[in-house]
């Protein structure tokens, strides 16, 4: 075991002494993050540490309890610094404001929206489903995404209320506590009460750095992990490349004539890639925290998520190594995978607006799962909320590593 550690530690040192690799491991993601920070106005000196005053237009054609509650939520003191809502009457005008880049999104609540969820007294059931429209500004994906997330969370709460009411009414009827003719009225009351709980306690959790600083979602909290995860793929591919390079340079055969088994050598190489990936992520996280005041969220969650993301990425790195014939091939495949996974996993643009098949395909990448996790943390979640991304990343790493080991053994890559 000690030799596995020694080989891994040696590889970590070599990685951080390779200036060309350092450019891609640390400098490139850092500079890109800074660049995108400027593009998104993150550094244009408002003094705020994140996004604020997102322009959003609201059209409430519903006028019912839920429609009004959503408008009240968007105008609530809790979201006062994050959102700058304007209420209009004309949906076309609202869409035009978005098209003219005067707003990040328009929230259009159609007539009959409340009635489609809560049955009016005297009706046995709710009306036909009426869909709420969010008209997003494609040039402001992050802020439009924030508006969408807030509305999604509100609707989830409403849905919880609606289903809860059905359950309550069914149970009350079953126990004979209410008469069938009262069921509709009771159901409407319960549904409205539960659904409207969303107004008072939005399930959106927003990060506040101090008591008097505005609740905010920092775009860097999305960009920085996105880019770090993308360049993590370079690191793991580059690490895999060293296995073939050492073979060509003669240091691998030399290791294999020392009292070191090929399993120890392979384990050491994998451990080295893991260490390098972890070091890369923590350096980038530390630098963005110190230099930009970026809050990554719950520290324990960040640590565990980083470790899991690197495990997932190392799995891919080893698979690329197992499939490539030369170090040059690993460079080419690794660079291609880095870019494809970057796009697919949402490192450049949020995949929220992508078609379903794209979102499903993105789940093969550590980038997508990692970003999911970092977004949860940035929105105030903790380690307990990271179960799904962490499990997915670990499973990805273990499965890919097992496949890679079979291929590596079959091809004798870790042997002379």
């Amino acid at each position: 075991m000690i030799k596995v550690f020694l080989i891994g530690w040696k590889d970590l040192r070599l990685a951080f002494r390779d200036r060309a690799a350092l450019m891609l491991i640390l400098a490139a993601p850092f500079l890109l993050t800074v660049g995108l920070g400027f593009v998104t106005g993150r550094f244009s000196g408002t003094g705020d540490s994140g996004v604020s005053d997102i322009a959003v237009v609201v059209v409430n054609q519903d006028g019912g309890q839920i429609g009004n509650a959503l408008v009240d939520l968007l105008r609530s003191p809790d979201l006062d610094n994050l959102l700058a809502p304007t209420v209009l009457d004309d949906p076309a005008l609202a869409r035009r404001q978005v098209d003219d880049d005067q707003a990040a999104a328009a929230v259009i609540i159609p007539a009959g929206f409340t009635a489609s969820i809560i049955p009016t007294p005297g009706d046995a059931a709710a009306g036909p489903l009426v869909q709420l429209e969010i008209y997003g500004n494609p040039t402001r994906p992050t802020t439009a995404g924030i508006v969408r997330t807030i509305v999604d969370q509100f609707l989830s709460q409403v849905e919880v209320g609606r289903v809860g009411a059905q359950v309550v009414v069914t149970q009350l009827l079953g126990q004979g506590l209410i008469q069938p003719q009262d069921a509709a009225q009771v159901g409407a009351d319960v549904a409205a009460r539960q659904a409207l709980a969303a107004q008072g306690s939005p399930s959106i959790t927003v990060t506040t750095t101090t008591g008097d600083v505005a609740a905010s979602f920092d775009p860097l909290a999305y960009m920085a992990p996105g880019l770090a995860l993308m360049f993590l793929m370079f690191t793991v591919a580059n690490g895999g490349r060293t296995l073939l390079s050492e073979r060509a340079q003669g240091t691998l055969p030399r290791l294999l004539v020392s009292p070191t088994s090929s399993a120890q050598v392979l384990g050491g190489k994998v451990f080295g890639i893991f260490l390098t990936g972890v070091a890369q992520m923590f350096i980038l996280i530390g630098a963005s925290t110190l230099l930009f005041g970026l809050s990554w969220g719950d520290p324990l969650g960040v640590v565990v998520l980083v470790l899991a993301a690197v495990v997932g990425a190392v799995g891919w790195g080893m698979l690329i190594t197992a499939l490539a014939k030369t170090a040059g091939q690993i460079n080419a495949i690794g660079s291609a995978v880095m870019l494809i996974f970057g796009i697919l996993g949402g490192s450049f643009l949020s995949i929220d607006y992508m078609p379903g098949w794209f979102v499903a395909l993105s789940k093969i990448t550590p980038n997508a799962w990692g970003l999911d996790g970092f977004t949860i943390l940035a929105l105030g979640g903790g380690l307990a909320d990271l179960g799904q991304p962490i499990a997915a990343l670990l499973a990805m790493g273990i499965v890919l590593f097992a496949v890679a080991v079979v291929l590596i053994n079959r091809r004798g890559i870790a042997q002379a």
Partner: protein
């Protein structure tokens, strides 16, 4: 002297090609044994099998009582290997390289530190130990490459053409260090295609060609095979027809062999001085310009020529 290495009918094949073909020899503890042969003769493959890097196709070898095919880990603890190509990390310093490789052989702590200092002194790099290998000259890198092989005080050191591609000064230093190591009791298996190195270093020499051991013995025993004949080497100008000159020289009386290689003609004759004048005349006759002449007493080059009909540098 006890036997440290026994090689029994060793074969290593790649498909139908036998890189090592049924060779047998042994090495006594404290000996310098050279495997002498041209490039591609099978020297490196032999060392690779003996050092457990490759498994033999047939036969076996025993190092310090352990079979290379059945107990490779035990063999690895007894041997040190200095590969032909540099096998060290350019981005690490000499000290860091020695430390890493020492740990791979189980050294640690103060014992490792002391041993590193000792080896750095041995290879003459104590004052440059903190510099990265990439800043070193070719000769210095070679010395570190050797130092790595010595760290754990192996009972048997394999050195595979350690002087290839380096300057004469570094070459001299390496040959001297091999002799010093041997004086300290280390057994060395040294491969080379330089006849002079084998002659200078070896207690015994095995001559290998096309994967087969074609001669084995002390230098005196081997040179006896070509009798008391001299070797006359004529160095011609580039582009001159040395093959024609060799053919012409063979017609002279008392010439036992004459072979052309590169820009030279190597002639075996009982008295080289007597052949020199008529050989130069032949060269003039066919338009070959002789640049220089070398006369050697009976040597391993002559033995190789005698056994294979080819010069060692072929």
């Amino acid at each position: 002297m006890p036997t440290i290495l026994e090689v029994h009918n060793l074969v290593k094949k790649y498909g139908d090609f036998a890189a090592v073909n049924d060779i047998s020899f042994d090495i006594q503890e404290g000996e310098i044994f050279s495997l002498l042969g041209p490039n591609g003769a099978g020297k490196t493959t032999t060392i690779s099998v003996l050092s457990t890097l490759y498994t033999p196709t047939a036969g076996d070898a025993v190092v310090g009582g352990h079979s290379v095919s059945k107990e490779p880990m035990a063999v690895r603890r007894l041997i040190g290997v200095v590969p032909q190509d540099l096998a060290i990390y350019d981005e690490l310093t000499a000290r860091e390289n020695l430390s890493f490789w020492g740990q791979m052989y189980g050294l640690s702590g103060r014992a490792l530190k002391l041993r590193i200092d000792e080896v750095l002194g041995q290879i003459g790099l104590s004052d440059k130990a903190g510099q990265r290998i990439k800043t070193y000259s070719g000769g210095m890198k070679r010395r570190v490459n050797i130092g790595v092989g010595l760290l754990h005080r192996p009972r048997l050191l394999f050195m595979d053409e350690p002087t290839v591609g380096i300057d004469p000064q570094s070459r001299r230093a390496i040959l001297d260090s091999v002799k010093d190591l041997n004086k300290q009791g280390m057994t060395v298996l040294y491969t080379t295609h330089y006849m002079e190195e084998a002659q200078e270093l070896s207690d015994r020499v095995g001559i290998i060609d096309h994967g087969e051991l074609i001669a084995l013995g002390t230098q005196a025993e081997l040179t006896r095979q070509v009798g008391e004949n001299d070797t006359l080497i004529l160095h011609a100008a580039e582009g001159d027809d040395v093959a024609a000159l060799a053919a012409a020289v063979r017609t002279l009386p008392d010439v036992l062999r004459a072979e052309a290689a590169d820009h030279t003609v190597t002639i075996i004759a009982p008295e080289a001085e007597e052949i020199l004048a008529p050989a130069v005349t032949k060269a003039n006759d066919i338009g070959v310009k002789i640049h220089s002449v070398e006369i050697r007493e009976p040597n391993l080059e002559a033995v190789f020529l005698h056994l294979t009909g080819r010069a060692l540098r072929d």
